[in-house]
Subunit: 128 residues, 6 copies
């Protein structure tokens, strides 16, 4: 059983690694082209989620729900990772999923499935 | 000056009243047709924002940012009203606007203008 | 009472007339510019809803639900008019609204309100 | 030749199986979290397509066209399966594709390709 | 006739003025709140259309077509104004409309009507 | 080193080939069904990008930015290929990416990553 869980977390961890590696690799390619507008937008993106009148935790939850209703799987994965870092619980994540499904409709369900899978991967990686 | 502010708050209050009245009137028409799916979806919508693992305040902020990136002016107005009821401050509202503008792009700006106008109307009505 | 109903149907009829007149006027402006791609697309649009393996009635219902989930009020009005011509009943229209609200989420509700208002206008005009 | 067709239907059948298995597995994960809003929305989703003033067949066609213009591949696959169960013919399916392409534009074409592939898989699985 | 044209250009000019005035007024309200992310995004927005490897003219055409397929009437008006300043001709504007209608589908038509009306207003204002 | 570059261009070339082959194969399936509306729309699509008041190069750039803000990866790949054929440079492509990211928001970033990867593949294939 223990071995099985370890293997499962390896596979799930690989989903996270794959996502992060592709992201880093392509960010490097894009930034190497020195387009100022893109560079500044990306800096600004980082600032958006800084502590302010709202906490980073709240802002990451806002980023997650926005990504879900706009149905962007990679954006969802990114904000799920950040939400986990900010201590958002599974029950809270599912309440965010619920808001996204109600506001955005059943069209959001397939993205919720992939989000749920990635959240399990994050939890498994955190436990390993 | 005093009179001017009072008139301004009357006009702004009328924007809120107009929105609420049209909403109520048409909800009545729709519900009178007894479509069960619509009725249940609307009940469910109310439940979605109830206190839970996340507070109603946080959920209304999630509803607001989702409405903004999906660019639905009426949904934005509705959640701005609810956010105000939940004690969300102007500074916090603008941080939600910022997340929506970064995630959803400059295409969200015209909706941010109308949101800002409605928020001023809510504040003015609250002070009157 | 009779007079009231007549007046109501006049006002509602005017919503329909206004929509149709603006539509005709601007179509004329656009077509006067002789852009071939736009002209052909518009011809093709008319063909799309012709009787075929599916009836025009079914296709107009498809056009309506597509317009609703894409949240285009003018497209919704157009297809509501066509659905009425094709004998679609109020109960059926509301089942289409239900599918659109479930698939597209609560973000579709404000458009459903305006759709419901326009449908009442069509019914009132039909009775006058 | 016969063997080839059998193999082809095996491969295509596997696309259907893969889709259904992932769907079931993740639905189980999601429902295990006991989020009431999500559970009720999913129940409601099932009710939406029940026989009523419109037949289940018509409603599944509505669900298909809505999924296509919203460009959700998994939703398209789901409704293609349901349309097949309801006896919708290939010619009818392509008229739904046509409405979706006209209303939603050429941006729908890549989704139409994947839809066409999945429809062939359904037909092949039905013949095996 | 002369008087009629003059009046027409007055009315059309007023559509342009109304748009610009509301825009300025609300921009002022928003910027007065000192949200740094929004301020920087707006600065960045201005930089995006500066001369570079592509001319400002080309970039404004890109901004116009993007606004059309995303169906944002105010964004369309803004970029139509900029395109006019950059010397884009009516024939060219309609070729941009054509690309937007083909890529985005007939759902773009109602926005094309409003765009065509605003373009006439710009032309009329330019001639007055 | 030389061998490595050759292998890299083989792999990248295969991404292009895979895309084109799937596209051709499924277009064949779709066109074999003889749906007139789809056939005519596809013909019209080809006409849209023909030389006119705007050059084919400019129109392909319009098609690219429209595909990016609508977040359709396959459409992006198609127009990247066409832009390369029309002599659009890397610097120009990144200015189109910048417009798309500003107008459409950070939700466009994951699509920009895949677009950047495909553009590298096109460049590598062109050099081999």
């Amino acid at each position: 059983m223990r071995k099985y869980l370890w293997q499962k977390s390896m596979i799930m961890g690989s989903q996270i690694n794959e996502f992060n590696e592709y992201r880093s690799k392509m960010n490097e390619v894009i930034l190497s082209k020195d387009n100022l507008v893109i560079k500044r937008l990306w800096n600004l993106d980082a600032n958006t989620y800084a502590e302010g009148a709202l906490s980073t935790q709240t802002k990451e939850m806002l980023g997650l729900v926005a990504s879900m209703v706009l149905r962007c799987d990679d954006c969802i994965k990114y904000h799920l990772g950040k939400c986990h870092e900010q201590g958002v619980t599974t029950e809270q994540v599912y309440e965010i999923f619920a808001v996204a499904n109600i506001v955005g409709g059943t069209i959001v369900i397939p993205h919720t499935r992939r989000a749920a899978e990635y959240w399990e991967a994050i939890l498994a990686a955190g436990q390993s």
